[in-house]
Symmetry: C2
Subunit: 263 residues, 2 copies
C-alpha cells in the first residue's frame, strides 16, 4: 500500500488558493492514502473568534470537504485533511476522512493546544477508526500526540495506521512519534506544515516541518525537512501493523493489564 504526507505552506485565510495549490500536485501522485496538515487550507494563527467563525465550515456540506471529495474521487485516493469545523453553534478543530467512494467521517480534536482553547470547543467525537479496504486508519490531531492515550485508543480499536494532521511548533513530536508507533505497533503518518505566522501582534509561530512516516517497529521510513513543502509517498506492508508479536512470549495488546492502569 502506498501512503504519504503532504507537508504544505498555506497562506493564512486564502482557502481557495491553498486548495488549488494542493490540487495541482495530486495528479502526479500515485498513492492510496495521503495525509495533509491540521488546518491545511486556512492557516493556524486565528486572531479572534470572529475570524474562526468566518473560516469554519460545516462538514461535509462545506466547500473544503466538497473540494476534498472531488480530489479523492478524481485521483482515487483517501485523504485525511484538517479544517476548522462549524456545527451547532460550536467550532471544532477537526479532520475529515474522504475517499473515492465518498465521505467517511470526521474527528474532532480531543486535546486542544494553547489558544485553540479560546476559540474551539473540545472535541466530542472520540477517537475513531475507519476501514478503507487496504487498512484501518485512525485519526488524531497535532497535540493529541502528547497524550499516549490518543494513539493507544486508536490501536485498541484496530487502527493499522495513525493519521496525524499537525501544525507543530514544539520540537519533541517527531521523535515522540517513534515511541507512539512502537508502543502500539502501528504505522504513523504525521503531516506537518512549514513556514511562519505572525498575526495580530501575537507571538510569532514557526512550524517545524519534519513530517514523517514511522513503521510499527519504530523505523522512520521518511522524514521531511524543517522548512520546505514536500509531498512524499512510501510503500508499506499493512500486515506489519497487524503482527503484534514482540517475541514468542509477548503480544503487545494482549499483554496489557488494564486492571492496573489509571483511568
Amino acid at each position: 500500500m502506498k501512503v504519504g504526507y503532504f507537508q504544505t505552506h498555506p497562506e493564512f485565510g486564502e482557502v481557495q488558493r491553498n486548495i488549488d495549490q494542493v490540487a495541482v500536485r495530486l495528479g502526479a501522485v500515485d498513492c492510496e492514502l495521503l495525509v495533509l496538515p491540521e488546518f491545511a487550507f486556512t492557516g493556524y494563527q486565528f486572531v479572534d473568534q470572529e475570524e474562526v467563525r468566518e473560516l469554519s465550515e460545516p462538514v461535509p456540506a462545506g466547500p473544503t470537504t466538497q473540494a476534498c471529495l472531488e480530489l479523492a474521487r478524481r485521483h482515487r485516493m483517501h485523504l485525511v485533511v484538517g479544517l476548522p469545523e462549524k456545527a451547532g453553534g460550536e467550532c471544532y478543530n477537526s479532520a475529515i476522512v474522504v475517499g473515492p467512494s465518498g465521505f467517511l467521517g470526521s474527528y474532532r480534536k480531543t486535546h486542544l493546544f494553547c489558544e485553540e482553547t479560546l476559540f474551539f470547543s473540545p472535541g466530542d467525537s472520540g477517537f475513531r477508526v475507519w476501514d478503507i479496504g487496504q487498512a484501518r486508519i485512525g485519526v488524531m490531531i497535532c497535540f493529541d500526540w502528547y497524550y499516549p492515550e490518543s494513539a493507544r485508543t486508536l490501536a485498541v480499536q484496530g487502527a493499522d495506521i495513525v493519521c496525524h494532521p499537525s501544525n507543530l511548533v514544539l520540537p519533541h513530536c517527531p521523535d515522540a512519534m517513534v515511541t507512539r508507533s512502537l508502543e502500539n505497533r502501528v504505522f504513523s503518518i504525521t503531516a506537518n506544515r512549514v513556514g511562519r505566522e505572525d498575526r495580530g501582534g501575537k507571538p510569532p509561530l514557526t512550524f517545524i516541518g519534519k513530517s514523517e512516516v514511522v513503521s510499527p517497529t519504530g523505523r522512520i521510513l521518511s522524514r521531511a525537512s524543517a522548512d520546505t513543502p514536500e509531498l512524499t509517498v512510501v510503500e508499506i506492508d499493512v500486515d506489519d501493523a497487524r503482527n503484534k508479536s514482540i517475541n514468542p512470549y509477548n503480544e503487545l495488546l494482549r499483554d496489557r493489564r488494564p486492571g492496573y492502569y489509571c483511568s
Copy 2:
C-alpha cells in the same frame, strides 16, 4: 536533590559478591536516591525454574533486602533495587524501596518480558508511589516502559520521579524514556546493566547500558555508555516535576480526557 543510577555488571548467581561490589562504591557517593538495575545482584538469564527458586528471596526478610537496608542506613540514601522475590509459593520480578528509616515497600513487575513469563508470576502489586520526603517516587521495571500506562499511572498518583530498574536488551528504551518523561512531566531514572549472559545453551543476551536521568521537559541530564559500569549522580529540582503547566492554557494532567480513552 541529588539522584543517580548505578549501572552495574553483575556476575550471574554471585549474589554476595555482587552486593559487595556495589557496597564498596557507596561510601564515596553523595546522593539521596540511587537506582540499581533489575535483578541487580542475581543476574538475569535464569536457566530453569529451579534456579529462579534458589535465587529468589522473601521481601523484606531475605538477605538482599537486609543488605540494602543496611547500606541505606549507613549512607543515608534511598535505594531502589531489583531482585527476584519469593512469596507464597510464587516468584516475582520485584524491586524494593529502602531508605535510612527502613523498608518502604516493593513493586512486582506488571509486564513480564519474554522468558520471564515462564519463571515469574505477573506482578500483583500495581504501580505504587512512595513519599521519601524530598520527592514522591514511583517504580516500574524494565519492559514496563513499553506500556505508556505504567509511567502514566505513576504520574497520576503523584510521582515526581519514575525509578526504572532495568536489564534492557532491545535498543529503543533510552530514547523512549525521553517521551515517557515528557508526556508525564516527571523525572525518570533508568538504571540498566552492561555485559553479556550466555547460559544453558540459550541465545546470548547483551545488555545495552545507556542508563540515564531524563528531566520533565525531556532533557537527557546524563546518559551512561553502552558497555561500562558507571555510577552517576545529578542534581535535580523536584519542583520541575510538580509544574505541569505546558503553557498558560494547558496543564498536563488536568487536560487529560479519560472519558475518551480506552481502558
